[in-house]
Amino acid sequence: MMSPAHYLFLSLALFLIGCVGVVTRRNVIVVLMSIELILNAVNINLVMFSRVFGDVAGQVFALFIIADAAAEAAVGLGIIIAFFRNRETVMTDEMDLLKW
Protein backbone atom coordinates (compact mmCIF):
# COMPACT_ATOMS: atom_id res chain seq x y z
CA MET A 1 0.00 0.00 0.00
CA MET A 2 1.13 3.52 -0.71
CA SER A 3 1.45 5.99 2.15
CA PRO A 4 -1.75 7.74 3.25
CA ALA A 5 -0.42 11.06 1.98
CA HIS A 6 -0.69 9.84 -1.62
CA TYR A 7 -4.38 9.13 -1.20
CA LEU A 8 -4.92 12.41 0.63
CA PHE A 9 -3.37 14.35 -2.24
CA LEU A 10 -5.41 12.45 -4.81
CA SER A 11 -8.56 13.12 -2.80
CA LEU A 12 -7.63 16.78 -2.45
CA ALA A 13 -7.14 17.12 -6.20
CA LEU A 14 -10.49 15.55 -7.00
CA PHE A 15 -12.22 17.64 -4.34
CA LEU A 16 -10.79 20.87 -5.72
CA ILE A 17 -11.73 19.96 -9.29
CA GLY A 18 -15.25 19.27 -8.05
CA CYS A 19 -15.38 22.62 -6.26
CA VAL A 20 -14.26 24.47 -9.39
CA GLY A 21 -16.94 22.62 -11.35
CA VAL A 22 -19.67 23.56 -8.87
CA VAL A 23 -18.72 27.24 -8.93
CA THR A 24 -17.87 27.83 -12.58
CA ARG A 25 -20.24 25.67 -14.61
CA ARG A 26 -23.59 27.15 -15.44
CA ASN A 27 -25.36 23.96 -16.37
CA VAL A 28 -27.14 22.48 -13.34
CA ILE A 29 -26.54 18.92 -14.51
CA VAL A 30 -22.79 19.45 -14.53
CA VAL A 31 -23.03 21.06 -11.10
CA LEU A 32 -24.75 17.92 -9.80
CA MET A 33 -22.08 15.75 -11.42
CA SER A 34 -19.38 17.81 -9.72
CA ILE A 35 -21.09 17.21 -6.39
CA GLU A 36 -20.92 13.48 -7.09
CA LEU A 37 -17.21 13.90 -7.74
CA ILE A 38 -16.75 15.66 -4.39
CA LEU A 39 -18.56 12.86 -2.56
CA ASN A 40 -16.30 10.31 -4.25
CA ALA A 41 -13.19 12.22 -3.23
CA VAL A 42 -14.32 11.97 0.38
CA ASN A 43 -14.96 8.26 -0.06
CA ILE A 44 -11.34 7.68 -1.05
CA ASN A 45 -10.22 9.16 2.27
CA LEU A 46 -12.64 7.03 4.27
CA VAL A 47 -11.61 3.79 2.59
CA MET A 48 -7.92 4.64 2.87
CA PHE A 49 -8.11 5.32 6.61
CA SER A 50 -10.19 2.21 7.09
CA ARG A 51 -7.34 0.24 5.51
CA VAL A 52 -4.65 2.04 7.52
CA PHE A 53 -6.31 1.48 10.87
CA GLY A 54 -7.56 -1.99 10.01
CA ASP A 55 -11.09 -1.00 10.97
CA VAL A 56 -13.90 -1.65 8.55
CA ALA A 57 -16.12 1.15 9.90
CA GLY A 58 -14.75 3.60 7.37
CA GLN A 59 -16.01 1.41 4.56
CA VAL A 60 -19.44 1.32 6.21
CA PHE A 61 -19.46 5.10 6.19
CA ALA A 62 -18.44 5.12 2.54
CA LEU A 63 -21.37 2.82 1.83
CA PHE A 64 -23.74 5.27 3.54
CA ILE A 65 -22.26 8.11 1.49
CA ILE A 66 -22.93 6.17 -1.70
CA ALA A 67 -26.55 5.68 -0.61
CA ASP A 68 -26.84 9.41 0.14
CA ALA A 69 -25.36 10.27 -3.25
CA ALA A 70 -27.93 8.08 -4.97
CA ALA A 71 -30.79 9.75 -3.07
CA GLU A 72 -29.39 13.20 -3.77
CA ALA A 73 -28.99 12.51 -7.48
CA ALA A 74 -32.54 11.18 -7.78
CA VAL A 75 -34.12 14.16 -6.05
CA GLY A 76 -31.84 16.67 -7.78
CA LEU A 77 -32.59 15.32 -11.23
CA GLY A 78 -36.30 15.30 -10.40
CA ILE A 79 -36.06 18.97 -9.48
CA ILE A 80 -34.15 19.67 -12.71
CA ILE A 81 -36.87 18.01 -14.79
CA ALA A 82 -39.60 19.93 -12.95
CA PHE A 83 -37.71 23.18 -13.48
CA PHE A 84 -37.10 22.44 -17.12
CA ARG A 85 -40.80 21.80 -17.61
CA ASN A 86 -41.61 25.24 -16.24
CA ARG A 87 -38.80 27.38 -17.63
CA GLU A 88 -37.40 25.48 -20.64
CA THR A 89 -33.82 25.86 -19.41
CA VAL A 90 -31.27 24.27 -17.09
CA MET A 91 -28.85 27.18 -16.86
CA THR A 92 -28.21 28.60 -13.40
CA ASP A 93 -28.35 32.17 -14.70
CA GLU A 94 -31.95 31.73 -15.78
CA MET A 95 -33.05 30.59 -12.33
CA ASP A 96 -34.24 33.99 -11.14
CA LEU A 97 -37.86 33.35 -10.22
CA LEU A 98 -37.60 35.42 -7.05
CA LYS A 99 -36.37 38.45 -9.00
CA TRP A 100 -38.59 40.71 -11.09
Binding site: L10, A13, I29, E36, L37, R51, L63, A71, G78
Partner: protein
Protein backbone atom coordinates in the same frame (compact mmCIF):
# COMPACT_ATOMS: atom_id res chain seq x y z
CA UNK B 1 6.18 -1.73 -6.81
CA UNK B 2 3.19 -3.14 -8.62
CA UNK B 3 1.02 -1.45 -6.02
CA UNK B 4 2.41 1.98 -6.83
CA UNK B 5 2.07 1.43 -10.57
CA UNK B 6 -1.60 0.54 -10.12
CA UNK B 7 -2.13 3.53 -7.85
CA UNK B 8 -0.52 6.05 -10.19
CA UNK B 9 -2.34 4.59 -13.19
CA UNK B 10 -5.78 4.93 -11.62
CA UNK B 11 -5.01 8.24 -9.91
CA UNK B 12 -3.78 9.75 -13.17
CA UNK B 13 -6.85 8.65 -15.06
CA UNK B 14 -9.12 9.90 -12.26
CA UNK B 15 -7.60 13.37 -12.04
CA UNK B 16 -7.24 13.80 -15.81
CA UNK B 17 -10.78 12.81 -16.65
CA UNK B 18 -12.15 14.81 -13.72
CA UNK B 19 -10.45 17.90 -15.12
CA UNK B 20 -11.85 17.12 -18.56
CA UNK B 21 -15.28 16.58 -17.02
CA UNK B 22 -15.29 20.07 -15.57
CA UNK B 23 -13.95 21.79 -18.67
CA UNK B 24 -15.80 20.10 -21.55
CA UNK B 25 -18.51 22.22 -23.11
CA UNK B 26 -20.69 19.31 -24.17
CA UNK B 27 -22.63 17.90 -21.23
CA UNK B 28 -22.70 14.37 -22.62
CA UNK B 29 -18.90 14.39 -22.85
CA UNK B 30 -18.81 15.54 -19.22
CA UNK B 31 -20.98 12.60 -18.22
CA UNK B 32 -18.75 10.11 -20.04
CA UNK B 33 -15.63 11.56 -18.42
CA UNK B 34 -17.33 11.34 -15.03
CA UNK B 35 -17.96 7.65 -15.72
CA UNK B 36 -14.23 7.22 -16.39
CA UNK B 37 -13.38 8.99 -13.15
CA UNK B 38 -15.77 6.86 -11.13
CA UNK B 39 -14.40 3.67 -12.67
CA UNK B 40 -10.83 4.59 -11.82
CA UNK B 41 -11.87 5.51 -8.28
CA UNK B 42 -13.38 2.02 -8.12
CA UNK B 43 -9.96 0.73 -9.18
CA UNK B 44 -8.40 2.62 -6.30
CA UNK B 45 -10.90 1.00 -3.92
CA UNK B 46 -9.79 -2.36 -5.25
CA UNK B 47 -6.16 -1.40 -4.75
CA UNK B 48 -7.09 -0.59 -1.14
CA UNK B 49 -8.58 -4.09 -0.80
CA UNK B 50 -12.14 -2.87 -0.41
CA UNK B 51 -13.72 -5.35 -2.78
CA UNK B 52 -17.29 -4.81 -1.70
CA UNK B 53 -17.07 -1.06 -2.23
CA UNK B 54 -15.43 -1.66 -5.61
CA UNK B 55 -18.46 -3.65 -6.75
CA UNK B 56 -20.89 -1.22 -5.11
CA UNK B 57 -19.23 1.74 -6.77
CA UNK B 58 -19.57 0.17 -10.21
CA UNK B 59 -23.13 -1.05 -9.73
CA UNK B 60 -24.58 1.99 -7.97
CA UNK B 61 -22.62 4.84 -9.52
CA UNK B 62 -21.82 3.72 -13.02
CA UNK B 63 -24.82 1.47 -13.46
CA UNK B 64 -27.39 3.55 -11.61
CA UNK B 65 -26.63 7.18 -11.02
CA UNK B 66 -24.82 7.88 -14.28
CA UNK B 67 -27.54 6.20 -16.32
CA UNK B 68 -30.00 8.49 -14.56
CA UNK B 69 -27.85 11.50 -15.42
CA UNK B 70 -27.59 10.49 -19.06
CA UNK B 71 -31.35 9.98 -19.27
CA UNK B 72 -31.92 13.48 -17.89
CA UNK B 73 -29.33 14.96 -20.27
CA UNK B 74 -31.21 13.40 -23.16
CA UNK B 75 -34.57 14.59 -21.84
CA UNK B 76 -33.47 18.18 -21.42
CA UNK B 77 -32.65 20.41 -24.36
CA UNK B 78 -29.05 21.64 -24.16
CA UNK B 79 -28.30 23.66 -27.27
CA UNK B 80 -27.13 26.87 -25.64
CA UNK B 81 -23.33 26.74 -25.80
CA UNK B 82 -22.96 30.30 -27.09
CA UNK B 83 -23.45 32.43 -24.03
CA UNK B 84 -21.84 29.87 -21.78
CA UNK B 85 -18.59 31.76 -21.49
CA UNK B 86 -19.98 35.16 -20.66
CA UNK B 87 -18.68 35.55 -17.16
CA UNK B 88 -14.92 35.33 -17.26
CA UNK B 89 -14.84 37.11 -13.92
CA UNK B 90 -16.78 34.38 -12.15
CA UNK B 91 -14.39 31.75 -13.43
CA UNK B 92 -11.41 33.76 -12.24
CA UNK B 93 -12.85 34.17 -8.76
CA UNK B 94 -13.70 30.46 -8.62
CA UNK B 95 -10.20 29.41 -9.60
CA UNK B 96 -8.78 31.82 -7.03
CA UNK B 97 -10.98 30.44 -4.25
CA UNK B 98 -10.16 26.84 -5.22
CA UNK B 99 -6.47 27.70 -5.28
CA UNK B 100 -6.69 29.26 -1.82
CA UNK B 101 -8.49 26.18 -0.48
CA UNK B 102 -5.89 23.92 -2.06
CA UNK B 103 -3.00 25.86 -0.54
CA UNK B 104 -4.71 25.77 2.83
CA UNK B 105 -5.17 21.99 2.83
CA UNK B 106 -1.67 21.46 1.43
CA UNK B 107 -0.19 23.46 4.29
CA UNK B 108 -2.17 21.39 6.78
CA UNK B 109 -1.02 18.16 5.16
CA UNK B 110 2.57 19.26 5.12
CA UNK B 111 2.39 20.39 8.75
CA UNK B 112 1.04 16.97 9.61
CA UNK B 113 4.45 15.60 8.76
CA UNK B 114 5.56 17.02 12.10
CA UNK B 115 3.19 14.76 14.00
CA UNK B 116 4.83 12.38 16.47
CA UNK B 117 5.92 9.22 14.72
CA UNK B 118 5.78 9.11 10.97
CA UNK B 119 2.65 11.28 10.73
CA UNK B 120 0.67 10.81 7.57
CA UNK B 121 3.45 8.89 5.87
CA UNK B 122 3.09 5.86 8.10
CA UNK B 123 2.77 2.55 6.31
CA UNK B 124 -0.13 0.26 6.97
CA UNK B 125 0.55 -2.34 9.59
CA UNK B 126 -1.71 -5.11 8.35
CA UNK B 127 -0.19 -7.15 5.51
CA UNK B 128 -2.45 -8.11 2.67
CA UNK B 129 -2.46 -11.80 3.49
CA UNK B 130 -3.71 -11.10 7.01
CA UNK B 131 -6.77 -9.14 5.92
CA UNK B 132 -10.14 -10.79 6.59
CA UNK B 133 -12.55 -11.35 3.68
CA UNK B 134 -13.80 -7.89 2.98
CA UNK B 135 -17.49 -8.45 2.23
CA UNK B 136 -17.93 -10.73 5.23
CA UNK B 137 -16.25 -8.28 7.59
CA UNK B 138 -18.18 -5.34 6.19
CA UNK B 139 -21.56 -7.02 6.45
CA UNK B 140 -20.84 -8.17 10.00
CA UNK B 141 -20.06 -4.60 11.06
CA UNK B 142 -22.91 -3.12 9.06
CA UNK B 143 -25.55 -5.39 10.54
CA UNK B 144 -24.33 -5.31 14.12
CA UNK B 145 -22.86 -1.94 15.04
CA UNK B 146 -24.50 0.13 12.34
CA UNK B 147 -27.92 -1.48 12.12
CA UNK B 148 -29.86 1.67 13.06
CA UNK B 149 -28.07 3.93 10.51
CA UNK B 150 -28.67 1.21 7.94
CA UNK B 151 -32.42 1.26 8.56
CA UNK B 152 -32.44 5.06 8.52
CA UNK B 153 -30.64 4.97 5.18
CA UNK B 154 -33.37 2.71 3.80
CA UNK B 155 -36.01 5.20 4.94
CA UNK B 156 -33.97 8.00 3.34
CA UNK B 157 -33.88 6.13 0.04
CA UNK B 158 -37.64 5.58 0.20
CA UNK B 159 -38.23 9.28 0.85
CA UNK B 160 -35.90 10.23 -1.98
CA UNK B 161 -37.69 7.85 -4.34
CA UNK B 162 -41.10 9.28 -3.49
CA UNK B 163 -39.74 12.82 -3.71
CA UNK B 164 -38.16 12.23 -7.10
CA UNK B 165 -41.37 10.76 -8.50
CA UNK B 166 -43.44 13.65 -7.15
CA UNK B 167 -40.97 16.20 -8.52
CA UNK B 168 -40.67 14.69 -11.97
CA UNK B 169 -44.32 13.76 -12.45
CA UNK B 170 -45.68 17.29 -12.67
CA UNK B 171 -49.23 18.32 -12.01
CA UNK B 172 -52.14 17.32 -14.17
CA UNK B 173 -52.95 19.77 -16.90
CA UNK B 174 -56.69 20.09 -16.58
CA UNK B 175 -56.91 23.26 -18.66
CA UNK B 176 -55.52 21.64 -21.79
CA UNK B 177 -57.93 18.77 -22.09
Amino acid sequence: MLDSIVFYFFAGIAVLSAALMVTRRNVMHSAVFLVTTLLSIAGIFLQLRAEFLFVTQIIVYVGGIMVLFIFVIMLVRLDVPLHQMRFRFQRLVALLVAFALGVEVLVILLLARKLPGAGLFVQSTAPVSKLPPNSEELSRTLFSNYLLPFEIASVLLLVAMVGAVVMAKGRKRADES
